[in-house]
């Protein structure tokens, strides 16, 4: 009888752990658009764009003068680049994973991920 209780307890605990893990995984995906900022191949910052309440900006150093990145709820852009070509600044805001922002001279990449962001796509050709 005592054993039965222990096993029930173990089973319930395991169930709870699995359920919690499952919810965490789902919760992390549903409705969120997460921006990942890479510099020189390293992930330097991750931002949940859906949780941004006040717009803000920050700088990322890079070999061509670095970049200033601006964040608002649901979207992100490069507002200043130290390099001459300014391709990343001209690209403007992105809010989904269709086209990443890339500043080659500064080795900067901004990718937005999340299920909702790409309409359940595995990737985009373009």
């Amino acid at each position: 009888m005592k054993h039965t209780k222990v096993w029930i307890l173990v089973t319930v605990l395991l169930l709870a752990v699995c359920l919690a893990g499952w919810l965490l995984v789902l919760g992390g995906r549903a409705g969120s658009a997460t921006a990942q900022i890479y510099q020189g191949g390293q992930l330097v910052r991750t931002i949940d764009l859906s949780q941004v309440e006040q717009p803000y900006s920050f700088s990322v150093d890079g070999p061509a003068g670095g970049n200033t990145i601006q964040v608002e709820q649901g979207r992100i852009r490069v507002s200043h680049a130290g390099c001459p070509d300014q391709v990343c600044v001209q690209q403007g805001w992105i809010a989904n994973g269709v086209v990443p922002i890339v500043c080659l001279p500064n080795e900067l990449v901004i990718q937005v991920g999340g299920d909702e962001a790409e309409g359940g796509l595995d990737g985009v050709s373009g």
Partner: protein
């Protein structure tokens, strides 16, 4: 004992439901003038990704026209070069595509590309007289590939930019296969290539970028395919209110003017998909359809400036206009 069995059964069920999906390994790197995302699934994925990154660096070092140490740069300086196996193999495949498209793809267009300033981003509209002179040097038939060394005729210069990423995709799929990876996805600056089916067993769902905006306009479902798109929106400059795109017509030396906004090629071969996406953009709708009827190794999605999306029948199943594409008309070309 009975309780134990029950508990064990419960545990097994729990473990089954909690089992993580196949391990996913990803890498992001800047190479070949673009951003590359690599994803491989399963226990062999981690090591295979390391090798794949090394492979990209190796190929870039051999093939970049702007890197003075590359084999292509040496060829373009007029040197006799003992070709490495990858350069030899890609030149073979690329020259075949140049022939098959009757020069709509021409890997000797580099002098013209340089005159427009695309490689160093010092954009300018070349003088028509100068352009006409440069065009005389453009003809892939001048590249006589025999044996393992190559010397280009004077003034002839190669640009593998229209096929190098596609070839890199093919080589990566081969590497993944040899490493025991059965499920992988790479996006090489918009060149998508997938090994096998997606991790959940369904085909990969690949969006096609809307040439007019930042969203996508259609979805195509593929297994074991490259999906490569070419369009002027990818690289262009503006001068005096005119937009000049980076896909040059080897016949005229000017940006291709074919009434298309983008061309997507779906094929088992990345090199073919890459090269034909450029060639079909130059050829336009009629030329594209004619080439498709003459071959059986690719399908296409043509986005017209008139708001029509034309696809070939091989990708009709699983194809859908979506997002920005709902305003377009869909046409299916059949054999």
């Amino acid at each position: 004992m009975k309780h134990l069995t029950l508990a064990a059964l419960g545990l097994a069920l729990l473990l089954a439901s909690c089992a993580p999906a196949a391990q996913e390994y990803t890498a992001t790197l800047l190479a070949m003038d673009t951003v590359m995302e690599l994803t491989a699934y399963g226990p062999e994925g981690e090591g295979a990704l390391e090798e794949a990154q090394a492979l990209i660096q190796e190929l870039e070092g051999l093939m970049s026209a702007t890197d003075p140490d590359s084999e292509i740069a040496a060829l373009n300086r007029g040197q006799t070069v003992a070709l490495s196996p990858p350069v030899r193999e890609l030149l073979d495949q690329a020259l075949e595509l140049c022939g098959a498209t009757d020069g709509a793809l021409d890997i000797t267009i580099y002098p013209v590309v340089r005159a427009w300033g695309f490689p160093n981003k010092q954009y300018q509209v070349p003088d028509p007289g100068a352009l006409a002179q440069l065009l005389e040097r453009v003809d892939y038939a001048q590249v006589a590939l025999s044996g393992d060394t190559l010397t280009l005729p004077e003034g002839v210069e190669l640009d593998l930019g229209a096929v190098a990423k596609g070839y890199a995709g093919d080589r990566m799929m081969e590497l993944f296969r040899q490493s025991g990876v059965t499920c992988a996805y790479v996006n090489l600056g918009g060149n998508v290539q997938a090994l096998g089916a997606s991790p959940d067993g369904d085909p990969w769902r690949i969006g096609i970028q809307d040439p007019e905006g930042t969203s996508y306009l259609a979805v195509v479902e593929v297994t074991d395919r490259a999906v490569v798109t070419s369009g002027m929106y990818q690289r262009y400059f503006e001068q005096d209110g005119v937009r000049y795109g980076h896909i040059l017509d080897p016949d005229t030396g000017y940006p291709a003017d074919s009434a298309l906004s983008s061309v997507t090629i779906v094929s088992p071969s990345g090199t073919l998909a890459d090269g034909l996406s450029t060639a079909l953009f130059v050829l336009g709708r009629e030329g594209a359809e004619a080439l498709w009827r003459a071959r059986d190794d690719f399908d296409f999605v043509l986005v017209g400036q008139d708001g029509t999306v034309t696809i070939s029948e091989g990708i009709e199943d699983g194809f859908a206009l979506q997002g920005a594409g709902e305003d377009y008309n869909l046409e299916v070309v059949r054999r």
